[in-house]
Symmetry: C2
Subunit: 245 residues, 2 copies
DNA sequence: TATAGTTGTCTACATTAATAGACATTTCGG
DNA sequence: CCGAAATGTCTATTAATGTAGACAACTATA
């Protein structure tokens, strides 16, 4: 692994942020597992070729995320290093997939509504543009940390009580079951990565400049009829997507 | 699509870069397809709540990427908007997957070498740590634009001529075939998104601050024996990963 | 209890990013 | 041909980022 650490100037991304990203990556790679600590500020400053104060800004940002904690005289300890591994397969479900990686998972309803299907939604669900859809906006968390936020669309004609069922059952799988759909599979997933926008920063409690992975997915019933069109944004520094074929 | 455009200050990411990223996203989303032009600078400045000069910096960065071109008196024209859709399935291969999206694809060998397998490589290939591996570093391009750079490891005992075969055939699939492996399948893919490091910026000709999607994958022969461990970094703003299950 | 090694804090200054305004230049339509 | 609308260029100012150095405060260990 060469992966030479280097930062670039005049890029529109502050040095301290680039360095914070690189240190975060090193932590999640386990580079510092032997000591459980980040190297001393002076050493990091030397590695990156910047002033110690710049490194301190980077570490302050990571401390702010709760990833590290500095102790005067001792060093900067690593508090947390996990990335949740999130499986994507034909049977993708949020909570089951995480398994024992988190003690507690939660899906919180942010908004619900009924609206005519826009072009991409109608195409994904194979319904007429303008046909009524139920939209659910969720934030999913593991052990109290937001992992993803999603917007899902369901054809109203087939699942008229989707919003109400979800509110009671707190699970899309169960809400489907309550409306007579015992099983469903993932038929399509498209992934894109980009910087988080303001609403995502707030929902996922990200530090600004963070990256999200946007997964646009379609679930269908066993006969192949689409039942859900969703757009899920994952906090990129908290997850690893594991594709199972 | 609400996707409210908003930028944040004091985040370590310059406003002009955040705005450039948002405009790039709008372009690839087709938001400006009606006119084929980006909205006027004054309009964008109003939407984002920044000074016109800041918008100009963002547009200059996009012009530098060749994405737009400003013409005095007329406006800023969109030059290019595509994202390549890159399939990931059990039969993932680079050039076939792109199909007719690009007229020409190329895989260029950057470096080759033999080295003992590090921990993660050995684990992925199911060989003893320290056993000799052949490493190939590639950059793959479509129509002359770099799309991904990758580092692959192959067990030397089974594919001793991997590097030489690739140099002749310019294809990993063909190099496998030349060494008696007619078919192979993808058994594992893990995805992570992060900021590009300096070497990736150079290899992929990205503008600094850009995002890469890192796919760590294992290919195996029909009997399930791993034959290739690879880490591919995609230029996130040029690709969409389409997962086929 | 020294002492080396570490983080914390402070001051000063240079560079980059962003704002503000004015005006020139070019294009296009009435 | 004029004027509206758009980009191009310039100056000036403020805020954020990065560098540099010095020293205080704390921790662990010899």
């Amino acid at each position: 692994m060469n992966a030479k650490k280097a930062v670039e100037r005049q890029t529109g991304v502050a040095l301290w942020r680039q360095i914070a990203d690189l240190i975060r990556l090193s932590i999640s790679n386990g580079d510092y597992d032997q000591t459980g600590m980040v190297p001393p500020e002076t050493v990091l400053a030397g590695q990156f070729g910047v002033n110690r104060h710049t490194v301190r800004s980077a570490l302050a940002a990571l401390a702010d995320e709760g990833l590290v904690q500095a102790i005067q005289g001792r060093g900067t300890m690593i508090q947390r290093k996990e990335r949740l591994s999130f499986p994507i397969s034909r049977r993708t479900r949020f909570s089951q997939g995480l398994g024992d990686q988190a003690r507690e998972t939660e899906a919180k309803l942010l908004a619900k509504g009924t609206l005519p299907a826009a072009g991409d939604v109608a195409k994904g669900l194979k319904i007429d543009p303008g046909a009524p859809c139920i939209q659910l906006d969720l934030v999913s968390s593991a052990d109290g940390r937001p992992v993803s936020c999603s917007t899902s669309f369901f054809p109203q004609s087939r699942f008229p009580a989707m919003a109400e069922q979800f509110e009671q059952l707190h699970s899309i799988t169960k809400a489907f079951a309550a409306q007579g759909l015992a099983d469903y599979v993932r038929v399509s997933t498209e992934l894109v990565a980009r910087h988080a926008d303001a609403s995502e920063l707030a929902l996922l409690r990200l530090s600004p400049g963070a990256i999200v992975i946007e997964a646009t997915a379609i679930n269908a019933d066993p006969d192949g009829v689409p039942v859900q069109f969703s757009r899920t944004r994952f906090a990129a520094d908290r997850v690893k997507l594991k594709i199972e074929t």
